[in-house]
């Protein structure tokens, strides 16, 4: 069924509209803006709900004459991410209402969070590569703002910069990949619009032809790696996982929303989206290895964590690794793993983050060693933690078990098939690594659950009861996770949780080759299979080693302490080296002139380069027909210009500059343009008066200028001058055939025969003015808006600079 354009429009427009309205709403509602934002998210969720069961493309024409359009695509995968973004959004906004109580910068917080939700929905539904890229980078920008929420603390700044550098850099790699893809798509028959990814006439529907074309151009592996870079940086895959633990500097609702349920899912979304297009042996190798390595390394790091949010951050990276590894596997099982685990992970991890927020809020600490026995004070939270934590560990019958079982199955079958095909025995490393990593997952999950049990440390003070706004969202997520888990139990007896299964099936099909269908159902295993043994080994080894958790953690910390083994060591080293290098001193001098030179030269180079590329020929100068008076005026203007350059003091400089200005005004008069002349005169006068003001505060004479700098300035001035002259000559020489001037002249005045009231002509003797206020009034409206905007920015820059955000 074709999706409804209106619902899609609501989904994408509502969050941004909400973000724009936030300042107004905040004035009225104050802290209760959280519930306004939750309502916006609920609206989006409802609109996403209206799209369920539909599939297809919605195209919005933008500039039809150039074939520029905005295309959106709805299918299972898009709906899954859309549901997560808006559904978890509702819960997180509600939760924020309790969590952010009394925090600074709430206006910015809610506006950014809403804008983020819109961008994430855009990522989910974008059907062409450019739209995908733009929304993708928007999520990075909003993540930057939210991580840096406490903008005065050093660690927040560091964390925000780090995430920005890594995710945006990855996005740029991805952009190059997209451009290469477009290049290949133009050569493939059937791809209608070169940037179109999904839907009819998109790249995904012509996957085989695209792969052949890419291989013929030798671009297949580069594209795979470039797109992979985008996904790996966004989804915090090894070795780019380092930004995610730092990102926990953000308020906890942000961590739950962006850094577990949605934004980091953009990377795996990309993998799932491109899987039908690029699925080959290279794909399996790249994403299988990447995913499993991430899953294992970050699971080990999570064991070494000392802070509950840090533990959850590493664990998120680890589970994203699991999803990537799933999508990396070649058979349908891979798609199944990825699709189902995105859902499961979002449910249990968002719940756990909200739990972590409650613990930090009510117990006053996030240090793992200082916490214990919380179940006594927080019984509901403890129940949620048990459900979500065991799901994370992969213990049956909780939801994470099923998707992990799918992963084991997929990995096992892939390894078996590859070895049977004559592949290296090394393929068997995949299932071994999968089990090894899962043991650590089990360990840290149990450790997290144990925060609520055992003895309560003495130094832990009184634990308050959290507000309902905070427990309810966590409980909802926990209940959903439980329902999904129990669906597997009933599924064993033939009673399937049909809505979930149907939905996951549609998500899965998004990542299968076009037109493939596969049924999806999940249930507890009823017979002994290799993958069941893998699960049993995981849980068994985990349970046996858990008593030695502290010893394992200490050895992890010891290994983590070795510098060359830390990805952070490389990151910090690289940024510090750059900070200290001399390049910075040359590029970023802090002097206005450096930036002015760079800007002028770059603009000139681009303009002249464009003329050269389009091989524009210079028209001949015709001086012969000019009136002598004009020549005299222009001559004086030139003298004035030279005098400005030679002026020894500010006073003479300003005065000679106005000679130039007034000569131009006279030139306009001679060229019969009285309006222009008037404007020029008035502006010139105003500028002169303002200059007189400033002059009083400046030193009377310039200092001596050294020759090198004078020479450099002269060159820059000459280049800019040449560019402007060439532009004027070229643009005035290009006279269009149907001249608009005649139309304007005909209709500007009062017609000879006219009614007392008429609208079809300007009715004014001054054609210029009639153009300004009638024919081109829309332009003028735009210009005065710009003038008003300039005044606003001056106020903001000067009068409000001291004010900060303390409202």
């Amino acid at each position: 069924m074709q999706p409804s354009g209106t619902a899609l429009f609501v989904v994408l427009a509502l969050p941004f509209l909400g973000a724009a309205l936030t300042p107004l709403v905040y004035r009225i509602l104050g802290e209760r803006t959280a519930y306004f934002a939750a309502a916006v998210a609920a609206g989006c969720l409802a609109a996403v709900g209206a799209l369920y069961g539909t599939e297809g493309t919605v195209v919005v024409e933008w500039i039809p004459s150039y074939g520029v359009e905005l295309a959106f695509y709805v299918d299972g995968l898009a709906l899954l991410i859309g549901t997560l973004a808006s559904g978890v959004g509702v819960l997180v906004f509600t939760y924020s209402g309790g969590y952010m109580h009394g925090e600074p910068g709430q206006l910015k917080y809610y506006a950014t969070l809403l804008a983020f939700m819109g961008s994430m929905l855009g990522v989910a539904f974008a059907a062409d590569l450019i739209a995908l890229f733009v929304f993708w980078e928007l999520t990075s920008v909003s993540s930057f703002l939210l991580i840096g929420h406490y903008q005065d603390t050093e660690s927040s700044q560091y964390a925000a910069r780090k995430s920005m550098l890594i995710t945006v850099a990855g996005g740029l790699f991805m952009l190059v990949g997209f451009v290469l893809l477009r290049d290949a798509a133009t050569a493939v028959e059937g791809v209608e619009s070169a940037y179109r990814l999904s839907g009819d006439g998109g790249m995904l529907h012509h996957a085989d032809a695209m792969v052949d074309q890419l291989r013929a151009e030798g671009l297949f592996v580069p594209v795979l790696l470039l797109v992979g870079m985008g996904a790996a940086t966004k989804s915090a895959q090894v070795p780019f996982h380092i930004w995610l633990p730092n990102a926990m500097e953000a308020p906890t609702p942000v961590s739950a929303f962006l850094h577990s349920a949605t934004m980091v899912k953009a990377g795996v979304y990309l993998v799932g989206r491109f899987r039908p297009l690029l699925l080959t042996d290279e794909w399996t190798l790249v994403f299988g290895v990447l995913g499993l390595a991430t899953m294992t390394v970050t699971a080990i790091l999570a064991v070494g964590a000392s802070d509950i949010k840090e533990l959850l951050a590493y664990s998120t990276a680890s589970h994203l690794g699991l999803i990537v590894a799933g999508y990396g596997m070649s058979n349908y099982l891979g798609a199944e793993t990825g699709a189902f685990h995105i859902l499961n992970h979002a449910l249990f991890k968002a719940a756990l983050f909200l739990v972590a927020g409650i613990v930090a809020h009510e117990a006053g600490t996030r240090a793992i060693d200082e916490l214990g026995g919380l179940a006594e004070d927080l019984p509901l939270t403890a129940a949620v933690t048990v459900i979500a934590g065991l799901g994370m560990a992969g213990v049956p019958p909780f939801n994470g078990f099923y998707s992990k079982e799918f992963l084991f199955h997929a990995v096992y079958e892939t390894a078996e098939a590859s070895v049977a095909d004559g592949g290296s025995v090394l393929w068997w490393a995949l299932p071994v690594v999968a089990v090894f990593g899962s043991v650590f997952t089990f360990l840290y999950s149990i450790r997290f659950v144990m925060l609520f049990f055992g003895e309560k440390p003495d130094e832990l003070g009184e634990v308050h009861a959290p507000p309902v706004a905070m427990t309810a969202p966590a409980a909802v997520l926990g209940a959903l996770a439980l329902v999904v888990g129990l669906g597997g139990v009933t599924g064993t007896f033939g009673v399937h949780l049909t809505p979930v299964e149907e939905f996951v099936k549609s998500v899965m099909e998004s990542s299968l080759a076009h037109g493939n269908e596969h049924k999806f159902s999940y249930y507890l295993p009823t017979e002994v299979t290799p993958w069941l043994i893998m699960s049993a080994v995981t849980i068994g080894v985990g349970a046996v080693t858990y008593p030695f958790f502290d010893r394992i953690r200490d050895s992890v910390r010891a290994v983590r302490g070795v510098d060359p083994l830390r990805a952070n060591w490389y990151y910090d080293g690289a940024t510090e080296t750059l900070d200290r290098s001399t390049v910075i001193d040359i590029v970023q001098t802090g002097h206005l002139r450096t930036y002015a030179i760079a800007l002028s030269l770059a603009t000139s180079a681009l303009t002249l380069g464009a003329y050269a590329a389009a091989s524009v020929s210079l028209p001949a100068l015709e001086l012969a027909g000019l009136a002598p008076a004009l020549l005299v005026v222009l001559g004086v203007a030139v003298v004035g210009a030279v005098a400005v350059a030679a002026a020894p003091s500010h006073i003479s400089g300003v005065l000679t500059l106005s000679i130039l200005g007034f000569m131009v005004a006279i030139f306009y008069i001679l060229a019969s343009a009285p309006d222009l002349a008037l404007t020029q005169l008035v502006i010139e006068t105003l500028v002169l008066v303002i200059f007189l003001l400033v002059l009083d505060k400046l030193p009377a004479f310039y200092g001596t200028v050294d020759r090198v700098r004078a020479g450099r300035d002269a060159v820059v001035a000459a280049v800019v001058g040449v560019t402007v002259t060439v532009t004027v000559l070229v643009s005035t020489a290009a006279t269009p055939h149907d001249v608009i001037a005649q139309y304007l002249l005909t209709y500007a005045g009062v017609p000879e025969i006219h009614d007392p009231i008429f609208v079809d002509a300007g009715g004014g003797g001054n054609v210029v003015n009639v153009i300004l206020v009638d024919f081109r009034a829309f332009d003028t409206l735009g210009e005065i808006s710009v003038v008003a905007m300039a005044a606003l920015s001056v106020i903001t820059l000067i009068a409000m600079r001291e004010r900060g955000e303390t409202q």
């Binding site: 009285p674 309006d675 002349a677 008037l678 404007t679 008035v682 502006i683 006068t685 105003l686 008066v689 303002i690 007189l692 003001l693 009083d696 505060k697 009062v750 006219h754 007392p756 009231i757 008429f758 609208v759 002509a761 300007g762 009715g763 004014g764 003797g765 001054n766 210029v768 003015n769 009639v770 300004l772 206020v773 009638d774 009034a777 829309f778 003028t780 409206l781 005065i784 808006s785 003038v787 008003a788 300039a790 005044a791 001056v794 106020i795 000067i798 009068a799 409000m800 001291e802």
Partner: protein, 158 residues
Amino acid sequence: MTLDREPTVVARTVTRLVVPLILVTAIALLFQGHNLPGGGFIAGVLTVTAFVLVYVIFGLDYLETELLDREPSARYETESGIIREYGQVGAVGLAVAAGSGIAAIALGYPFLTQSVAFVEPLPVYDSLEVASALVFDLGVYAVVVGALLTIVAEVGAE
């Protein structure tokens, strides 16, 4: 935004004479703009020039203490005082300009359609041309005056 030195008597006297002339000229330019050189933008800039002249010669507070007969507003104050009033002039201007366009929509024409009416007979003038574009031009004038004065007063206080 005052000169460090006390301005000369000549400067003060000339300013006193010239400022009303400039303002009248500006208004004239605004109203004749439809048929003769002039218009909202030029008139606006000219008006601002007159104000700036007052600022330069008599100082920032003169306008409020002597002409409006009230306490001068604090520097950088944007919530109230003269800068806020300038801002309001600009805002009203923008609203008038946009509103004149919306009025056209209300009458069933495309956005910003202008019309002209001739009122006749009139006793002295015989006939008078009334252009709806003048409303739009008034908006332009107010925006230019409001915005530029905001900038000048704000930067001047600096």
